[in-house]
């Protein structure tokens, strides 16, 4: 595997402009990164961060502007040319083949290891071990990708990129799928790597930006609106610069109301995808007009609980009662009719049909209701009107309501799902990681809406890993651990430390 001839001392982007049909994605952007420096690139969804980085990584070509390395202007026509110059990108969605080993994945992208009729896997293993030892990124070259946790896969991506000889790492929202522990761990490792590398770090999470970066550049509508030293600014200032206005995430101030139980689970046992007992006798009660935060490290049964409540996963034993009726093992369509709203974890493939237009996705659960159809014909006019109204009131940013939903940014996809679920006027709403990977502005919007609908009497089960979010919004907090509810406590007076311990399974009586 070859490394670039001379190390990257300095990378300068000058006047980069990129236009897509109807959008100015990058507007005269100038940035620079020096060796050993971490530049945080922040901005809302659709601000142009990814476009800019794709230009740098050779995937797109700028309409105007230059990229220069160590003072020499370079043109990257393909990603491999950028790679050859030492620029490596770790994408938000990992680019790994699940049924291959780590070594095979690394060998896959490395031409030096491909000899005639012979793939040098031993060479790949050796290189992986060297790199992982050198950068303190432990990975097992013989493990299959599907066996690894998300955090481990992230490490494999990093090692892979470094094996290819990257000297400038571009990390696109590296922590969006990680648990809090994994995030802290990654931050530590990245910090140590900066002694010999430069990093461009794309993130929405300003506390991470604060911890990791030396300098921060803020993009808004494709242009750099701020570029300065991270240490000189508070996260609140950065948030204001990013969104263009003061951001205050709303809080749930009113105390818990004593209302009737709307949704309850008793002694629920549900199997996970690998056949193990993901829920192991779980008890939970959700009241009307409250937000119940379900805190826990992901993989402790949250997904299976949400699926079971939506009718998407078989309940082995135990019962689910919804509005006083036993709804255990009812098919999804019955749960939908009964008034259950569900914001699923996998928003790209479960929450929407990506190739369907925005207006079609907004009626995904109601296309055969009397409002949107007569006998078996769709009322296209009504569907379009519904979409225009929801686009307006939920601030869904899309070129038109006929745009394929899958092409929107994560935050806007989430707004489409939220709009649909809320517009159905559900009695209860299960929201799984509703703000994962969405920007501050969208997060503020989603939180505000959830609180507003709580006031209208909807019971909301908020499943999240962000303690901030749970503490801000919940009336009560339930901590899930290994498929059971470890403890339910009122939100008032709960602390991060207390919840952190509970999430790790430690109960002090």
């Amino acid at each position: 595997m070859k490394t670039a001839s001379d190390p990257i001392q300095e990378l300068v982007l000058k006047g980069i402009t990129k236009r897509f049909p109807g959008v100015l994605a990058c507007d005269d952007v100038s940035l620079e990164v020096r060796r050993g420096e971490v530049l945080a690139l922040v901005g809302e969804n659709g601000a142009g961060k990814s476009t800019l980085m794709n230009i740098l990584a050779g995937l797109y070509h700028p309409d105007a502007g230059t990229i220069s390395v160590n003072g020499k202007v370079v043109h990257f026509r393909t990603p491999s040319e950028a790679f050859a110059r030492g620029i490596g990108m770790v994408h938000q969605n990992f680019m790994l083949v699940p049924n291959m080993t780590v070594a095979e994945n690394v060998a896959l992208g490395s031409k030096q290891l491909h000899h005639f009729m012979n793939l040098d896997l031993r060479g790949a293993r050796k290189r992986i071990l060297e790199v992982s030892e050198h950068h303190e990124l432990p990975v097992n070259p013989d493990a299959y990708i599907w066996q690894l946790s998300v955090g481990e896969q992230q490490r494999v991506e990093l090692v892979k990129t470094l094996c290819f000889g990257a000297q400038l790492l571009i990390l696109d929202e590296p922590t969006s799928a990680l648990t809090p522990q994994e995030t802290d761990d990654l931050m530590d490792r990245l910090r140590r790597m900066t002694s010999e590398l430069s990093i461009i770090f794309i993130s929405h999470k300003l506390n991470e930006v604060k911890v990791l970066s030396d300098r921060v550049a803020i993009l808004r509508h494709g242009a750099v609106v701020f570029n300065g030293r991270t240490a000189d600014h508070t996260p609140a200032e950065l948030a204001a610069l990013m969104t263009g206005h003061e951001v205050t995430l709303p809080r749930n101030e009113s105390g818990a109301a004593e209302s009737e139980v709307i949704l309850s689970a008793r002694q629920l046992r549900v199997r996970g995808d690998r056949g193990h007992d993901a829920l192991d006798g779980l008890d939970l009660e959700l009241r009307a007009g409250e937000i119940l935060g379900l805190a826990g490290v992901s993989g402790n049964g949250q997904r299976e609980l949400a699926d079971a409540l939506a009718g998407l996963r078989r309940v082995e034993s135990g019962t689910i009662h919804f509005q006083g009726k036993d709804v255990t093992n009812r098919p999804p369509v019955r749960m939908i009719e009964a008034g259950m709203g569900y914001i699923p974890e996998d928003r790209h493939h479960e929450g929407i049909v990506p190739s369907f237009s925005v207006k079609d996705n907004l009626v995904l659960k109601d296309y055969d209701s009397a409002k949107f159809s007569f006998s078996c014909f769709l009322r296209l006019g009504e569907i379009a009107r519904n979409a225009e109204a929801l686009r307006e009131s939920f601030d869904i940013r899309c070129p038109s309501i006929s745009t394929a939903t899958g092409s929107l940014s994560g935050g806007n996809i989430q707004k489409v799902i939220l709009a649909r679920e809320i517009a159905r006027r559900p009695k209860a709403l299960v929201a799984v990681y509703p703000t994962r990977g969405v920007d501050m502005g969208a997060q503020e919007f989603i939180h505000t809406r959830l609180l507003a609908h709580r006031r209208e009497g909807i019971g909301i089960l908020l499943i999240s890993e962000e303690l901030e979010e749970i503490l801000n919004l919940s009336d009560r907090i339930a901590v899930i651990y290994k498929g059971r509810i470890l403890k339910v406590l009122p939100s008032a007076g709960a602390t991060r430390e207390q919840l952190g311990l509970l999430m790790a399974g430690v109960v002090h009586e």
């Binding site: 797109y60 369509v333 009719e337 190739s355 995904l364 296309y367 769709l378």
Partner: protein
């Protein structure tokens, strides 16, 4: 940008056509035929007279019907390559029905026969749908196997139980059924040609399929299940049921194609009647973008190729099998062109080249 895109697409199509023509010419040269004369015959021959034009449409009818069914199944997430078997079962069912009620009036017999064909095809397709939905059997496997079974069953019936008794009497033993009663014939819509009312049926059904897929709740369900199964389940769609429904529809269209072919063209079940329409129908459907509005012209285009091929055989002296080779080359070129047309990177590269060119000429002038 849009102008560049259009230009790009035109260039890709032209390049593909040119590549196909060159590759074909090479093949034709090696067997000593004149490429130019052959091409001229293929593309002008069918339009020379009334007969050629109607023949093109006669070929297009089954292609449209099969293509529509394929579009429904592909849109619903099921890769149905069993059109061939479904056509054969449709032919058997419709022929048997027509022969079973020889004395019935046309208003009864003709619809009954066509419906029997559709039902037969639906049954055959439905088997694959059921196996996929309930037992997880890959439809690629089951439809191909069902094609074999149908082909053998078809031959068996035409040589045994369904063979025309007069063939046995005269001892010639041609494997074909009795001639259908006149009441089971589709009317000819252009006198002295073979063009029959099946064309009208096919066009009407194309409109129906458009309405079904894009204007009804059924179509919404089918397309949702096909585009993203997980999301469809989440939205309360019974995905298994929709897979079976899709295969019933697809089979029904293929079966109907068979029935129409018997009733409109041959008036009896004979061997080789399906002429691989079950497979060309897939190409027509894909070439037409899995949309009725694209399938209609695509089917006519393939009709031209088929008829033109027949004509070359007669006028240019190119053997029939050579024409199959040419068709293969054309199909490969078309499919590759479609890959290129939707390739954003290639478009980007083209746009850059184009801009540089225009800038240069701008600077010179």
């Amino acid at each position: 940008m849009n102008k560049v895109k259009l230009l790009y697409r035109a260039c890709v199509v032209l390049a593909a056509a040119l590549a196909a023509a060159l590759a074909g010419a090479l093949v034709l040269r090696t067997i000593g035929a004149s490429p130019l004369a052959t091409y001229a015959t293929i593309f002008t021959g069918p339009f020379a007279d009334k007969f050629g034009i109607t023949e093109v449409l006669v070929r297009a009818v089954p292609l449209i019907l099969v293509g529509l069914g394929i579009a429904i199944s592909f849109r619903s997430g099921i890769l149905n390559i069993g059109g061939e078997g479904q056509i054969l079962v449709g032919i058997l069912a419709s022929t048997a029905t027509a022969l079973a009620f020889p004395g019935s009036p046309k208003v009864v017999l003709l619809p009954l026969m066509l419906m029997a064909g559709a039902l037969g095809g639906a049954l055959w397709g439905g088997i694959a749908g059921f196996l996929r939905a309930e037992l997880g059997v890959s439809e690629l496997l089951s439809t191909v196997m069902l094609n074999y079974i149908a082909a053998q069953f078809y031959t068996f019936l035409l040589r045994g139980p369904m063979i025309d008794p007069s063939e046995l009497q005269t001892g010639s033993g041609t494997p074909q059924s009795m001639r259908l009663p006149r009441a089971a014939w589709l009317d000819r819509i252009v006198p002295e040609t073979r063009l029959h009312a099946g064309l009208i049926l096919a066009v009407v059904l194309a409109v129906c399929v458009y309405i079904l897929l894009w204007r009804t709740t059924w179509g919404y369900r089918l397309r949702a299940a096909g585009a993203e199964e997980k999301a469809a389940r989440y939205a309360g769609v019974h995905v298994e049921r929709s897979l079976i429904a899709a295969m019933l529809f697809a089979g029904a269209f293929a079966g109907l194609a068979g029935a129409v072919e018997v009733s409109g063209v041959h008036h009896r079940a004979i061997e080789g009647i399906s002429s691989d329409y079950g497979f060309s129908g897939i190409v027509v459907a894909l070439f037409g973008g899995l949309h009725p509005a694209g399938i209609l012209p695509a089917a006519v285009f393939f009709g031209v190729l088929l008829v033109g091929a027949d004509m070359t055989q007669r006028s240019a002296g190119v053997p029939a099998n050579m024409i199959l080779v040419l068709q293969g080359v054309v199909i490969l070129a078309i499919v590759s062109a479609q890959m290129y047309i939707n390739n954003a990177y290639a478009l980007e590269r083209f746009a850059r080249l184009f801009r540089r060119r225009t800038e240069q000429t701008g600077a010179q002038s």
